[in-house]
Symmetry: C2
Protein backbone atom coordinates (compact mmCIF):
# COMPACT_ATOMS: atom_id res chain seq x y z
CA UNK A 1 0.00 0.00 0.00
CA UNK A 2 1.46 3.36 -0.96
CA UNK A 3 0.45 7.00 -0.75
CA UNK A 4 0.60 6.85 -4.54
CA UNK A 5 -2.55 4.71 -4.45
CA UNK A 6 -4.33 7.27 -2.31
CA UNK A 7 -4.18 9.41 0.76
CA UNK A 8 -6.68 11.44 2.75
CA UNK A 9 -6.42 14.94 4.19
CA UNK A 10 -9.32 14.65 6.55
CA UNK A 11 -10.88 11.95 8.72
CA UNK A 12 -14.66 11.83 8.58
CA UNK A 13 -17.50 9.29 8.94
CA UNK A 14 -17.67 8.38 5.24
CA UNK A 15 -14.37 7.24 3.80
CA UNK A 16 -13.97 5.20 0.61
CA UNK A 17 -11.24 2.57 1.00
CA UNK A 18 -8.36 2.30 -1.46
CA UNK A 19 -7.64 -1.25 -0.30
CA UNK A 20 -8.77 -3.89 2.17
CA UNK A 21 -6.95 -6.17 4.59
CA UNK A 22 -7.89 -9.01 6.93
CA UNK A 23 -7.58 -8.84 10.68
CA UNK A 24 -4.27 -10.42 11.62
CA UNK A 25 -2.72 -9.68 8.23
CA UNK A 26 0.67 -7.93 8.00
CA UNK A 27 0.99 -5.14 5.45
CA UNK A 28 3.49 -2.47 4.44
CA UNK A 29 2.23 1.09 4.15
CA UNK A 30 4.36 3.68 2.37
CA UNK A 31 3.78 7.16 3.77
CA UNK A 32 4.80 10.46 2.21
CA UNK A 33 6.52 12.97 4.49
CA UNK A 34 4.18 15.45 6.17
CA UNK A 35 4.81 18.18 3.57
CA UNK A 36 4.08 15.91 0.62
CA UNK A 37 7.62 16.06 -0.83
CA UNK A 38 7.37 19.85 -1.21
CA UNK A 39 10.52 20.28 0.90
CA UNK A 40 13.62 18.97 -0.86
CA UNK A 41 16.23 21.62 -0.07
CA UNK A 42 16.78 24.25 2.62
CA UNK A 43 15.33 26.83 0.23
CA UNK A 44 11.94 25.08 0.56
CA UNK A 45 10.18 26.57 3.58
CA UNK A 46 7.20 25.55 5.70
CA UNK A 47 5.73 28.98 4.99
CA UNK A 48 5.62 28.28 1.25
CA UNK A 49 4.16 24.77 1.04
CA UNK A 50 0.74 24.24 -0.49
CA UNK A 51 -1.35 23.38 2.58
CA UNK A 52 -3.77 21.31 0.48
CA UNK A 53 -1.04 18.70 0.21
CA UNK A 54 0.18 18.67 3.80
CA UNK A 55 -0.19 15.86 6.35
CA UNK A 56 -1.62 13.29 3.97
CA UNK A 57 -2.42 9.87 5.46
CA UNK A 58 -2.06 6.79 3.25
CA UNK A 59 -5.39 4.98 3.04
CA UNK A 60 -8.10 4.49 3.97
CA UNK A 61 -7.60 0.76 4.37
CA UNK A 62 -10.70 -1.27 5.14
CA UNK A 63 -10.13 -3.86 7.87
CA UNK A 64 -12.59 -6.60 6.97
CA UNK A 65 -15.02 -7.41 9.76
CA UNK A 66 -14.36 -4.37 11.96
CA UNK A 67 -17.62 -2.99 13.32
CA UNK A 68 -18.60 0.10 15.30
CA UNK A 69 -18.03 -0.62 18.99
CA UNK A 70 -14.95 -2.75 18.29
CA UNK A 71 -11.41 -1.61 18.91
CA UNK A 72 -8.74 -1.80 16.23
CA UNK A 73 -5.30 -2.71 17.55
CA UNK A 74 -2.53 -1.65 15.17
CA UNK A 75 0.82 -3.20 15.99
CA UNK A 76 3.78 -1.30 14.56
CA UNK A 77 6.16 -4.07 13.51
CA UNK A 78 8.74 -1.89 11.79
CA UNK A 79 9.31 1.56 10.32
CA UNK A 80 11.93 2.09 7.62
CA UNK A 81 12.75 5.68 6.73
CA UNK A 82 14.38 7.32 3.71
CA UNK A 83 17.90 8.72 3.59
CA UNK A 84 17.02 12.32 4.34
CA UNK A 85 14.40 14.22 6.28
CA UNK A 86 14.05 17.81 7.46
CA UNK A 87 13.11 19.93 10.42
CA UNK A 88 11.49 23.35 10.00
CA UNK A 89 10.28 26.42 11.84
CA UNK A 90 7.87 29.16 10.85
CA UNK A 91 6.69 32.36 12.56
CA UNK A 92 3.62 31.80 14.78
CA UNK A 93 4.01 28.00 14.69
CA UNK A 94 5.32 25.89 17.56
CA UNK A 95 5.48 26.58 21.30
CA UNK A 96 7.71 29.63 20.75
CA UNK A 97 6.30 30.72 17.39
CA UNK A 98 6.09 34.32 18.60
CA UNK A 99 9.90 34.43 18.73
CA UNK A 100 10.48 33.04 15.23
CA UNK A 101 11.22 35.88 12.81
CA UNK A 102 11.49 33.88 9.58
CA UNK A 103 10.86 30.39 8.28
CA UNK A 104 13.86 28.07 8.17
CA UNK A 105 14.43 24.54 6.94
CA UNK A 106 17.25 22.23 7.90
CA UNK A 107 17.80 19.08 5.85
CA UNK A 108 18.75 16.14 8.10
CA UNK A 109 20.52 13.17 6.47
CA UNK A 110 19.98 9.76 8.09
CA UNK A 111 23.20 7.75 8.33
CA UNK A 112 23.74 4.46 10.16
CA UNK A 113 20.67 4.90 12.30
CA UNK A 114 21.46 8.48 13.31
CA UNK A 115 19.97 11.79 12.24
CA UNK A 116 22.84 14.10 11.28
CA UNK A 117 21.48 17.39 12.64
CA UNK A 118 24.85 19.15 12.27
CA UNK A 119 28.55 18.37 12.14
CA UNK A 120 28.57 18.11 15.94
CA UNK A 121 25.10 16.77 16.64
CA UNK A 122 24.06 13.27 15.68
CA UNK A 123 20.88 11.85 17.16
CA UNK A 124 20.03 8.13 17.28
CA UNK A 125 16.75 7.80 15.39
CA UNK A 126 13.57 6.25 16.79
CA UNK A 127 11.01 6.49 13.96
CA UNK A 128 7.33 6.81 14.81
CA UNK A 129 4.02 7.39 13.07
CA UNK A 130 2.78 10.94 13.67
CA UNK A 131 -0.71 10.56 12.19
CA UNK A 132 -2.81 7.41 12.46
CA UNK A 133 -6.56 7.12 12.68
CA UNK A 134 -9.84 5.64 11.55
CA UNK A 135 -13.16 7.00 10.26
CA UNK A 136 -14.84 9.20 12.86
CA UNK A 137 -18.20 8.80 14.54
CA UNK A 138 -19.45 12.02 12.95
CA UNK A 139 -17.18 15.04 12.62
CA UNK A 140 -14.94 15.80 9.68
CA UNK A 141 -11.50 16.71 10.99
CA UNK A 142 -8.51 17.68 8.90
CA UNK A 143 -5.52 15.36 9.31
CA UNK A 144 -3.84 18.22 11.21
CA UNK A 145 -6.08 17.40 14.17
CA UNK A 146 -5.67 14.70 16.79
CA UNK A 147 -8.90 13.61 18.44
CA UNK A 148 -10.90 10.59 19.59
CA UNK A 149 -10.47 8.80 16.22
CA UNK A 150 -6.66 9.18 16.36
CA UNK A 151 -5.32 11.53 13.70
CA UNK A 152 -2.33 13.78 14.27
CA UNK A 153 -1.48 12.31 17.68
CA UNK A 154 2.28 12.99 17.33
CA UNK A 155 2.96 10.51 20.11
CA UNK A 156 6.52 9.25 19.91
CA UNK A 157 5.64 5.87 21.39
CA UNK A 158 3.66 4.90 18.26
CA UNK A 159 6.87 3.20 17.18
CA UNK A 160 8.32 -0.22 16.36
CA UNK A 161 7.34 -2.86 18.91
CA UNK A 162 4.37 -0.88 20.24
CA UNK A 163 0.67 -0.81 19.41
CA UNK A 164 -2.05 1.78 19.15
CA UNK A 165 -5.69 0.95 19.98
CA UNK A 166 -8.31 2.96 18.07
CA UNK A 167 -12.09 2.97 18.63
CA UNK A 168 -13.93 1.74 15.53
CA UNK A 169 -16.81 4.03 14.54
CA UNK A 170 -17.61 2.80 11.02
CA UNK A 171 -17.74 -0.63 9.32
CA UNK A 172 -14.24 -1.60 8.14
CA UNK A 173 -12.63 0.94 10.50
CA UNK A 174 -10.93 2.73 7.54
CA UNK A 175 -7.37 2.97 8.77
CA UNK A 176 -5.07 5.69 7.40
CA UNK A 177 -1.59 6.77 8.48
CA UNK A 178 1.27 9.08 7.60
CA UNK A 179 3.45 11.89 8.96
CA UNK A 180 6.47 9.73 9.82
CA UNK A 181 9.15 11.24 12.06
CA UNK A 182 12.67 9.80 12.20
CA UNK A 183 13.01 11.34 15.68
CA UNK A 184 10.95 13.70 17.84
CA UNK A 185 10.75 14.53 21.55
CA UNK A 186 7.63 14.91 23.71
CA UNK A 187 6.11 18.29 22.93
CA UNK A 188 7.41 18.54 19.33
CA UNK A 189 8.11 22.08 20.47
CA UNK A 190 9.33 23.67 17.21
CA UNK A 191 6.32 22.20 15.29
CA UNK A 192 8.16 19.42 13.41
CA UNK A 193 10.18 16.33 14.19
CA UNK A 194 12.55 15.05 11.52
CA UNK A 195 9.83 14.78 8.85
CA UNK A 196 10.53 11.95 6.45
CA UNK A 197 9.13 9.52 3.94
CA UNK A 198 8.85 6.02 5.39
CA UNK A 199 7.36 2.55 5.20
CA UNK A 200 5.40 1.18 8.12
CA UNK A 201 4.99 -2.56 8.54
CA UNK A 202 1.90 -3.16 10.65
CA UNK A 203 -0.61 -5.78 11.70
CA UNK A 204 -4.17 -4.87 12.61
CA UNK A 205 -6.35 -6.95 14.92
CA UNK A 206 -10.00 -6.48 15.78
CA UNK A 207 -10.90 -6.60 19.47
CA UNK A 208 -14.68 -6.95 19.47
CA UNK A 209 -16.47 -5.53 22.45
CA UNK A 210 -13.39 -3.76 23.82
CA UNK A 211 -15.19 -0.44 23.59
CA UNK A 212 -12.86 2.55 23.84
CA UNK A 213 -13.61 6.20 23.76
CA UNK A 214 -10.20 7.34 22.66
CA UNK A 215 -6.79 6.08 21.49
CA UNK A 216 -4.57 4.06 23.83
CA UNK A 217 -0.94 3.24 23.13
CA UNK A 218 0.69 0.05 24.43
CA UNK A 219 4.43 -0.22 24.97
CA UNK A 220 6.37 -3.05 26.55
CA UNK A 221 6.14 -1.33 29.97
CA UNK A 222 2.92 0.63 29.94
CA UNK A 223 -0.49 1.71 28.68
CA UNK A 224 -0.97 5.32 27.64
CA UNK A 225 -4.41 6.90 27.61
CA UNK A 226 -4.34 9.75 25.07
CA UNK A 227 -6.48 12.86 25.31
CA UNK A 228 -6.55 15.68 22.74
CA UNK A 229 -8.17 19.09 23.13
CA UNK A 230 -7.74 22.78 22.41
CA UNK A 231 -5.48 23.37 25.43
CA UNK A 232 -2.91 21.28 27.27
CA UNK A 233 -4.98 21.75 30.43
CA UNK A 234 -8.06 20.18 28.86
CA UNK A 235 -6.04 17.44 27.10
CA UNK A 236 -4.45 16.59 30.45
CA UNK A 237 -7.86 16.34 32.09
CA UNK A 238 -9.18 13.97 29.40
CA UNK A 239 -6.09 11.73 29.48
CA UNK A 240 -6.22 11.57 33.28
CA UNK A 241 -9.95 10.78 33.31
CA UNK A 242 -9.54 8.00 30.75
CA UNK A 243 -6.45 6.56 32.41
CA UNK A 244 -7.98 6.49 35.88
CA UNK A 245 -11.06 4.83 34.41
CA UNK A 246 -8.93 2.11 32.74
CA UNK A 247 -7.05 1.55 36.00
CA UNK A 248 -10.26 1.33 38.06
CA UNK A 249 -12.07 -1.02 35.70
CA UNK A 250 -8.97 -3.05 34.84
CA UNK A 251 -8.12 -3.70 38.49
CA UNK A 252 -11.69 -3.83 39.76
CA UNK A 253 -10.85 -0.95 42.06
CA UNK A 254 -13.05 1.86 43.34
CA UNK A 255 -12.65 4.98 41.20
CA UNK A 256 -11.38 7.01 44.18
CA UNK A 257 -8.74 4.39 44.88
CA UNK A 258 -7.59 4.36 41.24
CA UNK A 259 -7.44 8.16 41.25
CA UNK A 260 -5.12 8.11 44.30
CA UNK A 261 -2.99 5.30 42.86
CA UNK A 262 -2.62 7.16 39.55
CA UNK A 263 -1.22 10.15 41.45
CA UNK A 264 1.54 7.90 42.78
CA UNK A 265 2.48 5.76 39.78
CA UNK A 266 1.00 7.16 36.52
CA UNK A 267 2.97 9.94 34.84
CA UNK A 268 0.87 12.60 33.16
CA UNK A 269 2.84 13.59 30.08
CA UNK A 270 2.66 15.71 26.94
CA UNK A 271 2.69 14.08 23.49
CA UNK A 272 2.64 17.32 21.51
CA UNK A 273 2.02 20.98 22.27
CA UNK A 274 1.87 22.37 18.72
CA UNK A 275 -1.07 20.90 16.77
CA UNK A 276 -4.49 22.61 16.52
CA UNK A 277 -5.50 20.33 19.42
CA UNK A 278 -2.83 19.42 22.01
CA UNK A 279 -2.29 15.80 23.12
CA UNK A 280 -1.50 14.52 26.63
CA UNK A 281 -1.04 10.96 27.86
CA UNK A 282 -1.52 9.27 31.22
CA UNK A 283 1.12 6.54 31.44
CA UNK A 284 -0.07 3.47 33.38
CA UNK A 285 2.78 1.05 34.14
CA UNK A 286 1.88 -2.56 33.37
CA UNK A 287 3.14 -3.44 36.85
CA UNK A 288 -0.16 -1.91 38.04
CA UNK A 289 -2.42 -2.90 35.11
CA UNK A 290 -1.51 -6.07 33.26
CA UNK A 291 -4.24 -5.74 30.63
CA UNK A 292 -6.99 -3.40 29.55
CA UNK A 293 -10.47 -3.97 30.99
CA UNK A 294 -12.33 -6.43 28.77
CA UNK A 295 -9.14 -7.58 27.14
CA UNK A 296 -8.87 -11.16 28.38
CA UNK A 297 -11.92 -12.33 26.44
CA UNK A 298 -10.69 -10.49 23.37
CA UNK A 299 -7.26 -12.02 23.58
CA UNK A 300 -8.94 -15.43 23.29
CA UNK A 301 -11.02 -14.29 20.31
CA UNK A 302 -7.89 -12.97 18.64
CA UNK A 303 -6.08 -16.29 19.15
CA UNK A 304 -8.97 -18.07 17.46
CA UNK A 305 -8.60 -15.73 14.48
CA UNK A 306 -4.88 -16.34 14.37
CA UNK A 307 -5.34 -20.11 14.50
CA UNK A 308 -7.87 -20.00 11.70
CA UNK A 309 -5.35 -18.23 9.53
CA UNK A 310 -2.43 -20.63 10.05
Amino acid sequence: MSYKQGQIFSFGPNLTPIAAMDAGETIDVVCQDSCGEQIRTEADLLSKVDLDHVNGATGPIEVRGAQPGDTLRVRILDIRVEKEGYVGIEPKLGVLGDRVTEARTRMVPIRNGTAVFSKDVRIPIRPHVGTIGVATGGPNLSTFYPHDHGGNLDTKEIAKGNAVYLPVSQPGAMLALGDIHAIMADGEVCVTGVEILGTVRLRADILPGLAMKRPVVETRESWMALGSAETLDEAARIATADGVDLLARGRGMAWEEAYMLASLVCDLRISQDVDPYRTCKLVIPKAYLSRLPGMAANARRRSRTARRRT
Copy 2:
Protein backbone atom coordinates in the same frame (compact mmCIF):
# COMPACT_ATOMS: atom_id res chain seq x y z
CA MET B 1 17.68 21.99 61.48
CA SER B 2 14.09 21.07 62.17
CA TYR B 3 10.65 22.45 61.46
CA LYS B 4 10.38 22.72 65.23
CA GLN B 5 12.89 25.58 65.07
CA GLY B 6 10.82 27.36 62.48
CA GLN B 7 8.98 27.11 59.22
CA ILE B 8 7.49 29.56 56.77
CA PHE B 9 4.17 29.54 54.97
CA SER B 10 5.07 32.11 52.36
CA PHE B 11 8.15 33.09 50.38
CA GLY B 12 8.73 36.84 50.16
CA PRO B 13 11.62 39.28 49.78
CA ASN B 14 12.17 39.79 53.53
CA LEU B 15 12.73 36.57 55.42
CA THR B 16 14.37 36.30 58.85
CA PRO B 17 16.65 33.27 59.06
CA ILE B 18 16.31 30.67 61.81
CA ALA B 19 19.85 29.45 61.13
CA ALA B 20 22.85 29.97 58.87
CA MET B 21 25.12 27.63 56.92
CA ASP B 22 28.27 27.95 54.86
CA ALA B 23 28.44 27.22 51.16
CA GLY B 24 29.69 23.66 50.76
CA GLU B 25 28.41 22.61 54.16
CA THR B 26 26.23 19.51 54.55
CA ILE B 27 23.17 19.81 56.78
CA ASP B 28 20.12 17.77 57.71
CA VAL B 29 16.75 19.45 57.47
CA VAL B 30 13.73 17.83 59.15
CA CYS B 31 10.52 18.65 57.31
CA GLN B 32 6.98 18.21 58.56
CA ASP B 33 4.51 16.53 56.21
CA SER B 34 2.53 18.93 54.02
CA CYS B 35 -0.51 18.93 56.32
CA GLY B 36 1.53 19.70 59.43
CA GLU B 37 0.78 16.40 61.20
CA GLN B 38 -2.94 17.12 61.13
CA ILE B 39 -3.57 13.83 59.32
CA ARG B 40 -2.86 10.83 61.53
CA THR B 41 -5.72 8.46 60.71
CA GLU B 42 -8.11 7.90 57.82
CA ALA B 43 -10.70 9.92 59.71
CA ASP B 44 -8.52 13.01 59.27
CA LEU B 45 -9.47 14.58 55.94
CA LEU B 46 -7.87 17.16 53.64
CA SER B 47 -11.14 19.08 53.80
CA LYS B 48 -10.81 19.52 57.56
CA VAL B 49 -7.20 20.59 58.03
CA ASP B 50 -6.37 24.09 59.25
CA LEU B 51 -4.97 25.69 56.09
CA ASP B 52 -2.84 28.09 58.17
CA HIS B 53 -0.62 25.13 59.01
CA VAL B 54 -0.39 23.51 55.59
CA ASN B 55 2.70 23.27 53.35
CA GLY B 56 5.17 24.66 55.86
CA ALA B 57 8.80 24.87 54.70
CA THR B 58 11.57 24.44 57.27
CA GLY B 59 13.75 27.54 57.36
CA PRO B 60 14.66 30.07 56.20
CA ILE B 61 18.32 29.09 56.30
CA GLU B 62 20.80 31.82 55.43
CA VAL B 63 23.57 30.65 53.11
CA ARG B 64 26.50 32.87 54.05
CA GLY B 65 27.89 34.83 51.13
CA ALA B 66 25.04 34.30 48.67
CA GLN B 67 24.22 37.52 46.83
CA PRO B 68 21.48 38.60 44.43
CA GLY B 69 22.50 37.53 40.93
CA ASP B 70 24.14 34.33 42.17
CA THR B 71 22.63 30.91 41.81
CA LEU B 72 22.21 28.55 44.74
CA ARG B 73 22.79 24.90 43.90
CA VAL B 74 21.17 22.55 46.41
CA ARG B 75 22.34 18.97 46.12
CA ILE B 76 19.95 16.44 47.63
CA LEU B 77 22.27 13.88 49.21
CA ASP B 78 19.63 11.80 50.92
CA ILE B 79 16.00 11.80 52.04
CA ARG B 80 14.88 9.60 54.92
CA VAL B 81 11.15 9.29 55.47
CA GLU B 82 9.01 8.21 58.43
CA LYS B 83 7.17 4.91 58.74
CA GLU B 84 3.81 6.11 57.52
CA GLY B 85 2.45 8.69 55.09
CA TYR B 86 -0.92 9.30 53.47
CA VAL B 87 -2.59 10.14 50.21
CA GLY B 88 -5.79 12.18 50.08
CA ILE B 89 -8.49 13.50 47.80
CA GLU B 90 -11.00 16.31 48.23
CA PRO B 91 -13.83 17.64 46.05
CA LYS B 92 -12.66 20.36 43.61
CA LEU B 93 -8.97 19.55 44.15
CA GLY B 94 -6.76 17.69 41.69
CA VAL B 95 -7.08 17.19 37.94
CA LEU B 96 -10.43 15.38 38.36
CA GLY B 97 -11.66 17.30 41.41
CA ASP B 98 -15.06 17.78 39.79
CA ARG B 99 -15.63 14.01 40.04
CA VAL B 100 -14.71 13.68 43.71
CA THR B 101 -17.83 13.55 45.84
CA GLU B 102 -16.24 13.42 49.29
CA ALA B 103 -12.84 13.79 50.91
CA ARG B 104 -10.93 10.57 51.58
CA THR B 105 -7.65 9.76 53.27
CA ARG B 106 -5.63 6.59 52.87
CA MET B 107 -2.80 5.94 55.31
CA VAL B 108 0.20 4.41 53.53
CA PRO B 109 2.74 2.50 55.67
CA ILE B 110 6.33 2.45 54.39
CA ARG B 111 7.93 -0.97 54.73
CA ASN B 112 11.30 -2.09 53.36
CA GLY B 113 11.47 0.73 50.87
CA THR B 114 7.95 0.24 49.53
CA ALA B 115 4.76 2.21 50.05
CA VAL B 116 2.02 -0.23 51.03
CA PHE B 117 -0.92 1.32 49.17
CA SER B 118 -3.12 -1.75 49.68
CA LYS B 119 -2.83 -5.47 50.27
CA ASP B 120 -2.19 -5.95 46.55
CA VAL B 121 -0.36 -2.78 45.65
CA ARG B 122 3.14 -2.03 46.90
CA ILE B 123 5.08 0.76 45.30
CA PRO B 124 8.87 1.17 45.51
CA ILE B 125 9.41 4.59 47.09
CA ARG B 126 11.48 7.39 45.55
CA PRO B 127 11.29 10.27 48.07
CA HIS B 128 11.52 13.84 46.80
CA VAL B 129 11.21 17.37 48.12
CA GLY B 130 7.92 18.93 46.99
CA THR B 131 8.59 22.50 48.14
CA ILE B 132 11.98 24.19 48.03
CA GLY B 133 12.78 27.83 47.44
CA VAL B 134 14.53 31.03 48.40
CA ALA B 135 13.48 34.61 49.19
CA THR B 136 11.77 36.20 46.19
CA GLY B 137 12.75 39.28 44.22
CA GLY B 138 9.60 41.05 45.30
CA PRO B 139 6.30 39.23 45.52
CA ASN B 140 4.96 37.42 48.56
CA LEU B 141 3.76 33.99 47.53
CA SER B 142 2.21 31.37 49.79
CA THR B 143 4.17 28.10 49.95
CA PHE B 144 1.31 26.56 47.92
CA TYR B 145 2.70 28.36 44.86
CA PRO B 146 5.58 27.34 42.61
CA HIS B 147 7.24 30.22 40.80
CA ASP B 148 10.59 31.71 39.79
CA HIS B 149 11.96 31.46 43.37
CA GLY B 150 11.12 27.74 43.56
CA GLY B 151 8.37 26.99 46.07
CA ASN B 152 5.81 24.23 45.55
CA LEU B 153 7.50 22.81 42.43
CA ASP B 154 6.33 19.23 43.09
CA THR B 155 8.97 17.97 40.70
CA LYS B 156 9.73 14.33 41.40
CA GLU B 157 13.34 14.63 40.24
CA ILE B 158 14.23 16.84 43.26
CA ALA B 159 15.39 13.59 44.84
CA LYS B 160 18.49 11.87 46.17
CA GLY B 161 21.48 12.25 43.88
CA ASN B 162 20.03 15.24 42.01
CA ALA B 163 20.36 19.01 42.47
CA VAL B 164 18.12 22.03 42.14
CA TYR B 165 19.48 25.42 41.05
CA LEU B 166 17.64 28.45 42.43
CA PRO B 167 18.16 32.13 41.48
CA VAL B 168 19.29 34.15 44.51
CA SER B 169 17.30 37.39 44.93
CA GLN B 170 18.26 38.43 48.47
CA PRO B 171 21.49 38.34 50.51
CA GLY B 172 21.88 34.93 52.15
CA ALA B 173 19.41 33.35 49.70
CA MET B 174 17.14 32.23 52.59
CA LEU B 175 16.55 28.59 51.71
CA ALA B 176 13.45 26.79 52.98
CA LEU B 177 12.05 23.37 52.15
CA GLY B 178 9.33 20.91 53.05
CA ASP B 179 6.41 18.92 51.61
CA ILE B 180 8.25 15.59 51.32
CA HIS B 181 6.64 12.87 49.20
CA ALA B 182 7.63 9.22 49.58
CA ILE B 183 6.42 8.65 46.00
CA MET B 184 4.58 10.71 43.40
CA ALA B 185 4.16 10.56 39.61
CA ASP B 186 4.42 13.43 37.12
CA GLY B 187 1.18 15.41 37.35
CA GLU B 188 0.40 14.59 41.00
CA VAL B 189 -3.06 14.16 39.54
CA CYS B 190 -5.12 13.51 42.70
CA VAL B 191 -3.48 16.54 44.47
CA THR B 192 -1.15 14.61 46.81
CA GLY B 193 1.72 12.17 46.61
CA VAL B 194 2.40 10.00 49.66
CA GLU B 195 2.74 12.98 52.04
CA ILE B 196 5.20 12.24 54.81
CA LEU B 197 7.54 13.62 57.42
CA GLY B 198 11.16 13.34 56.37
CA THR B 199 14.75 14.43 56.80
CA VAL B 200 16.65 15.88 53.85
CA ARG B 201 20.44 15.81 53.83
CA LEU B 202 21.64 18.54 51.51
CA ARG B 203 24.64 20.58 50.52
CA ALA B 204 24.28 24.10 49.14
CA ASP B 205 26.87 25.76 46.86
CA ILE B 206 26.94 29.29 45.59
CA LEU B 207 27.53 29.76 41.86
CA PRO B 208 28.38 33.44 41.50
CA GLY B 209 27.48 35.02 38.20
CA LEU B 210 25.50 32.01 36.98
CA ALA B 211 22.42 34.20 36.63
CA MET B 212 19.20 32.22 36.30
CA LYS B 213 15.68 33.38 35.90
CA ARG B 214 14.03 30.30 37.23
CA PRO B 215 14.70 26.92 38.85
CA VAL B 216 16.66 24.23 36.99
CA VAL B 217 16.95 20.62 38.15
CA GLU B 218 20.02 18.50 37.40
CA THR B 219 19.85 14.71 37.28
CA ARG B 220 22.57 12.30 36.24
CA GLU B 221 21.25 12.33 32.65
CA SER B 222 19.72 15.74 32.11
CA TRP B 223 18.95 19.37 32.90
CA MET B 224 15.35 20.38 33.46
CA ALA B 225 14.23 23.96 32.95
CA LEU B 226 11.14 24.50 35.14
CA GLY B 227 8.37 26.94 34.32
CA SER B 228 5.34 27.63 36.53
CA ALA B 229 2.21 29.59 35.59
CA GLU B 230 -1.54 29.67 35.93
CA THR B 231 -2.12 27.17 33.11
CA LEU B 232 -0.20 24.16 31.80
CA ASP B 233 -0.06 25.89 28.42
CA GLU B 234 1.71 28.94 29.82
CA ALA B 235 3.98 26.85 32.09
CA ALA B 236 4.95 24.77 29.03
CA ARG B 237 5.81 27.93 27.10
CA ILE B 238 8.04 29.27 29.89
CA ALA B 239 9.86 25.95 30.38
CA THR B 240 10.43 25.64 26.63
CA ALA B 241 11.69 29.23 26.30
CA ASP B 242 14.12 28.80 29.21
CA GLY B 243 15.31 25.38 28.05
CA VAL B 244 15.92 26.48 24.47
CA ASP B 245 17.81 29.51 25.80
CA LEU B 246 20.04 27.27 27.97
CA LEU B 247 20.69 24.97 25.01
CA ALA B 248 21.53 27.88 22.66
CA ARG B 249 23.84 29.67 25.10
CA GLY B 250 25.38 26.48 26.49
CA ARG B 251 26.27 25.14 23.05
CA GLY B 252 26.99 28.52 21.43
CA MET B 253 24.27 27.73 18.92
CA ALA B 254 21.91 30.09 17.10
CA TRP B 255 18.56 30.30 18.91
CA GLU B 256 16.70 28.94 15.87
CA GLU B 257 19.01 25.95 15.74
CA ALA B 258 18.52 25.23 19.46
CA TYR B 259 14.75 25.51 19.02
CA MET B 260 14.83 22.89 16.26
CA LEU B 261 17.18 20.62 18.22
CA ALA B 262 14.96 20.84 21.32
CA SER B 263 12.03 19.60 19.23
CA LEU B 264 14.04 16.45 18.46
CA VAL B 265 15.71 15.63 21.78
CA CYS B 266 14.18 17.62 24.67
CA ASP B 267 11.02 16.18 26.22
CA LEU B 268 8.50 18.76 27.36
CA ARG B 269 6.95 17.27 30.49
CA ILE B 270 4.58 18.05 33.34
CA SER B 271 5.83 18.24 36.93
CA GLN B 272 2.44 18.88 38.50
CA ASP B 273 -1.03 19.83 37.27
CA VAL B 274 -2.74 20.56 40.60
CA ASP B 275 -1.10 23.51 42.40
CA PRO B 276 -2.38 27.11 42.08
CA TYR B 277 0.29 27.51 39.39
CA ARG B 278 1.11 24.49 37.21
CA THR B 279 4.73 23.41 36.59
CA CYS B 280 6.23 22.07 33.35
CA LYS B 281 9.82 21.06 32.59
CA LEU B 282 11.88 20.96 29.41
CA VAL B 283 14.27 18.02 29.78
CA ILE B 284 17.66 18.62 28.08
CA PRO B 285 19.75 15.44 27.91
CA LYS B 286 23.37 16.00 28.99
CA ALA B 287 24.41 14.26 25.78
CA TYR B 288 23.45 17.55 24.09
CA LEU B 289 24.42 20.00 26.87
CA SER B 290 27.24 18.95 29.16
CA ARG B 291 27.00 21.99 31.43
CA LEU B 292 24.92 25.09 31.96
CA PRO B 293 26.07 28.29 30.24
CA GLY B 294 28.54 30.10 32.52
CA MET B 295 29.07 27.02 34.63
CA ALA B 296 32.72 26.18 33.87
CA ALA B 297 34.07 29.28 35.61
CA ASN B 298 31.78 28.66 38.54
CA ALA B 299 32.87 25.07 38.87
CA ARG B 300 36.44 26.36 39.38
CA ARG B 301 35.29 28.89 41.96
CA ARG B 302 33.39 26.17 43.77
CA SER B 303 36.47 23.93 43.87
CA ARG B 304 38.45 26.77 45.44
CA THR B 305 35.82 27.02 48.13
CA ALA B 306 35.97 23.30 48.71
CA ARG B 307 39.76 23.31 48.97
CA ARG B 308 39.65 26.14 51.46
CA ARG B 309 37.37 24.12 53.64
CA THR B 310 39.43 20.92 53.74
